[in-house]
Subunit: 330 residues, 2 copies
């Protein structure tokens, strides 16, 4: 099987190297004979993609290289596109993707780091850290005392890798965890799970709201101005999903009005957030530049483990654990 | 036994009320008949202190009310001063205190909240949050990726309530925990414990350094410019002790020079930190206004439980768990 790895030019942190590959092959079951090539430039891509059966790369590169209709001519033998991201919303709509090509993400990679980031964000909001960061900008000493997490309620929207890891830590610290996802199947780290359609009934109980769902047509704008108004006064919000899942301006308004008491967001619209944007200056809002879930020490290794496991499953005719359904978007 | 509670005027968060007292007496063993009075003004203090055998109040009030030599005349029957703080450094030197009077602190009150604050600070430093707060002030999107805590090394100076709680959480997240305290007795949540006199040998291994010791003559200026230089490049520092435990200017210099990669401090010199102070603007340094360890929902209840347990021990002739040794300072 011919595999091509196309790295972004100039990314030293998440580049996938031949050393990563050798180590991954050594620690995983073999899915068969694998010929792998690596490139980070145009020429390397152009020559390798003509023969590649599997492409491992970033969503940004997929988006740039395969405008609608281009793929069959450029990559006649391609059967699998594996992205080193969990959220593939950048690739929607999926009109560029021939349906016989399997699209894989790397969900599962992010659990350790994302779980710690989620717990950190909850602890920061409980301790009023975004408020103190705002006060520090104005050089003002403004003590506010905060209680421990135990006994308080968090609503987690999305119970995939990120939301599940968040629920696990929140539960371990004694929080009451209310989960929300497309179908209300129980989750081992949630006290209750409700369907997204019941979101309105759960928001008034959410002292903390943590967003960890994929961005899809169903979640775009999910937390709008009206739903922010359903949160109890003084509620605190974490966004580890995508900026388009909430109404960003309404969040800023709610912080300025004091309806929300604090916010940590790892995602913004747009990214990178430009200088002069309102979000930088909204009181009680801490902007983190989209790094919540990526551990540079383990990210590439986990991504390759996941790819190899999926290739073994494909060889054996089993369902692929990381297949993305283009109709669903995740 | 006559007990007087002197509250600070105008503190609604930590005032001790008759309701707190009744609840505490109901849930604790009785140390004997107790007559309790409450005041927050001068007149209330003046009349009650003449008869009080136990005074429960803040270190600030003790400091103001009992200048050296004043106590015997003002409070002829006083046997116990109980402070609703763990650190009594504000009362040093203890020349104002007749040696027949027992001084109690409320150590033990802070474990839950302080442990969460310590863990939060370690997670924040691992995720470069102080750096992002600095970048936000300049409205700059500057991603830096950070790894999970597991496998990394933290050196915790002081293994009392705060340091012990910090060690517990750090260990639970897979960190290697090096403890430092006056005597190198083992600690259940530390991989190693060294005496403070061995601090120089441990600092080069401390990717994270967390200060949680009392401020005493032995710890004043402990983390000076030379010792900051012994930390590995890129080290991260948390101060939950007192600002005088480190050389604050040297910390700022080390952050500006990039030797330290980040800092969260709950304590400053002076407090409150005035506008215009260098600390507010030091890059990678987050200033928290001395709130790390006080949980407003449990603080007063725990303080009263501790006082009553000490009064029972006194009645029974047992050692008092919260007695402060003025020679040692804690």
């Amino acid at each position: 099987m011919r595999i091509h790895v196309q790295n972004p030019a100039g990314d030293a942190v998440f580049a996938i190297t031949p050393e990563h590959w050798s180590a991954a092959v050594a620690r995983n079951p073999e899915p068969g004979r694998l010929d792998v090539s690596f490139a980070s430039d145009d020429a390397g891509f152009a020559s390798a993609i003509r023969h590649a059966e599997v492409l491992l790369t970033t969503t940004k590169i997929v988006k740039e290289r395969f405008p609608a209709g281009a793929l069959p001519g450029l990559a006649p033998r391609l059967r699998v596109i594996a992205c080193n991201s969990a959220g593939l919303d950048r690739l929607a709509p999926f009109d560029w993707l021939p349906r016989e090509i399997t699209l894989l993400n790397n969900r599962g990679t992010h659990a350790g780091k994302a779980g710690e980031f989620a717990l950190m964000s909850l602890l920061m909001l409980a301790s009023h850290i975004p408020h103190f960061a705002t006060a520090q900008r104005a050089e003002r000493w403004e003590p506010r005392f905060g209680s421990v997490l135990a006994g308080r309620t968090v609503c987690i929207v999305g119970l995939g890798t990120l939301g599940g890891a968040a629920a696990h830590h929140a539960r371990a610290f004694g929080m009451r965890v209310l989960g929300v996802r497309a179908s209300p199947a129980p989750h081992p780290d949630c006290d209750e799970v409700l369907a997204t359609t019941s979101l309105d009934t759960i928001l008034p109980r959410a002292e903390f709201l943590l967003l960890a769902c994929p961005l899809t047509p169903a979640t775009q704008g999910l937390i709008d101005r009206r739903r922010l108004g359903l949160l109890p006064p003084g509620a605190k919000v974490v966004n580890m999903a995508r900026g388009a899942v909430w109404d960003q301006d309404a969040v800023c308004d709610a912080l300025e009005a004091g309806h929300l008491a604090g916010c940590v967001t790892d995602v913004t619209v747009p990214e990178p957030l430009p200088s002069g944007h309102r979000l930088w200056r909204t009181p009680g809002l801490l902007v983190v530049p989209h790094v919540s879930s990526d551990d540079p020490n383990t990210y590439t290794d986990r991504t390759l483990d996941i790819l190899l496991a999926n290739l073994v499953a494909m060889r054996d005719g089993r369902p692929l654990p990381n297949r993305v359904d283009p109709d669903r978007g995740y």
